[in-house]
Subunit: 272 residues, 2 copies
């Protein structure tokens, strides 16, 4: 099955555009889990079980595992997702970008070692550095376009000579016109710049957009939907990490995470 | 000691601008090492011991460890380098770039977990995403500027409205004027575009430049030196990976690697 088919099936069966970001920070994991052998996996598993029927995707953020010496927990988490919820796409958020032979190694990391369905990549080094990720239609590739952080204006917002397009618009154009021959390309477009999300949508048609930045980062759901929905009122993967993971800090953290996910899903669906 | 001091001391004591890239590919490691418990570490250790007196730096490429399920070998390699050759800077080539709290996790990965002296980062997401890496002057930060691959023209070469500067020039300007308050910033500028290397040098003064792309990628040493040397005839970290690692394929691979490194060092020094 192609990645796009898997994602579209997941949107339909979950009736949700919510992606649960798995960014576990050991210092914020509820106390009562601290005696578990693999605290991070225990936390993730509880979050996953509490939200899987509400989510169109899960997105583990590589940094939280790499920076806490917990790559084994990442692997266990993805294995668990694939065994227990095989129909939900797993997007490994690792933002890779490197020259050809090196990028091939990173593609192996994402797809062979971690067995993710999709990976995030950084376009700064150019189209040839994305090629090793694009070859297999069953694997999705989310290219950074307009990111949610304030500093994204530094470069992504620069206008080029000639037609005056901004850098992120040129990335979006290339994604749609040059990189998507296997229909497995998607873009990352932050909720914090909703007009730019609309601009990207007008460039890429019904290409899926991964939207970080609602909740803790301040992006507003109504504006995201107004600007970002595709022609079928789908096309968005709206990520929430901290707003779900840390909705509760006590023994009820999983049910609080579930409530937060329902709230977000319902807010989104009421505005679709 | 600051990263810059460590690097400058290393340039002086090694009398070399050569950086040995540790990109071990299991399929290219000499047969006779295949019975070792940690083939990749054995290979790296032999390369390191054969070249340490000829190199101003070592640069392990994260992808080769991540993609071959060998992050333990990466850790052993850096531990070995720090114990046996503590004066030689280790640059972890991982090209990170992510929003604030996530970037903090990546800084932990590079400096606390792997104990690298410096790390490569990708500027696409903007200056705020680099901040967690810049805080400590003992840690170096190599920002991608003009990369060595053909596709680097896709975005890095775009000219912006107004003053017509190219994107990589703007990155260089920001590196020199905004990010370098701890004097720990350096740039990545490929050998394959020597005129652009000269342009970058004119923008950043004596800032160190990491130069990949000589050898296998086709960059020429003479042009690199003409364009890239700083005012003290230093300032360059000229990386070679495949040209050194695979100079020989037999039991003499380490001495062949040593010969290749001497050749490159001497070629460079004859033109300085």
């Amino acid at each position: 099955m192609t990645f796009l088919d898997k994602l579209e099936n997941s949107w339909k069966s979950s009736k949700s555009l919510v992606c649960v970001g798995l960014d576990p920070d050991r210092s914020r994991i509820p106390e009562h889990l601290s005696k578990d052998a693999d605290v991070i996996f225990s936390f993730n598993k509880a979050i996953i079980d509490a939200t899987a029927d509400l989510a169109c995707a899960f997105k583990p953020q590589f940094a939280y595992y790499a920076g806490q010496n917990a790559l084994g927990s990442l692997r266990k988490t993805i294995t668990y997702l694939r065994q227990s919820y095989p129909d939900i796409p797993v997007i490994l958020d690792v933002k890779r970008g490197d020259i050809g032979p090196t990028a091939t190694m990173y593609a192996r990391e994402a797809f062979d070692i971690y067995k993710a369905d999709a990976v995030t990549v950084n376009p700064y080094m150019g189209g040839d550095t994305l090629r090793p990720f694009l070859e297999d239609a069953s694997q999705g590739v989310f290219v950074l376009c307009r990111t949610s952080n304030p500093g994204s204006v530094d470069f992504q917002d620069l206008r080029v000579q000639g037609d005056g397009r901004r850098l992120f618009e040129i990335v979006a154009h290339k994604a749609a016109s040059e990189w998507n021959h296997n229909r497995n390309v998607a873009l990352v477009a932050g909720a914090t710049f909703p007009e730019d999300l609309g601009c990207i949508r007008s460039i890429v048609g019904d290409m899926p957009l991964l939207v970080p930045g609602v909740g803790a980062q301040g992006g507003e759901v109504a504006a995201v939907l107004r600007q970002g929905l595709d022609s079928r009122k789908e096309g968005l993967i709206i990520n929430s990490s901290r707003g779900i993971l840390y909705a509760g800090r006590g023994t009820d953290f999983a049910s609080r995470a579930r409530e937060a996910t329902i709230l977000l899903r319902d807010e989104i669906n009421s505005l679709r």
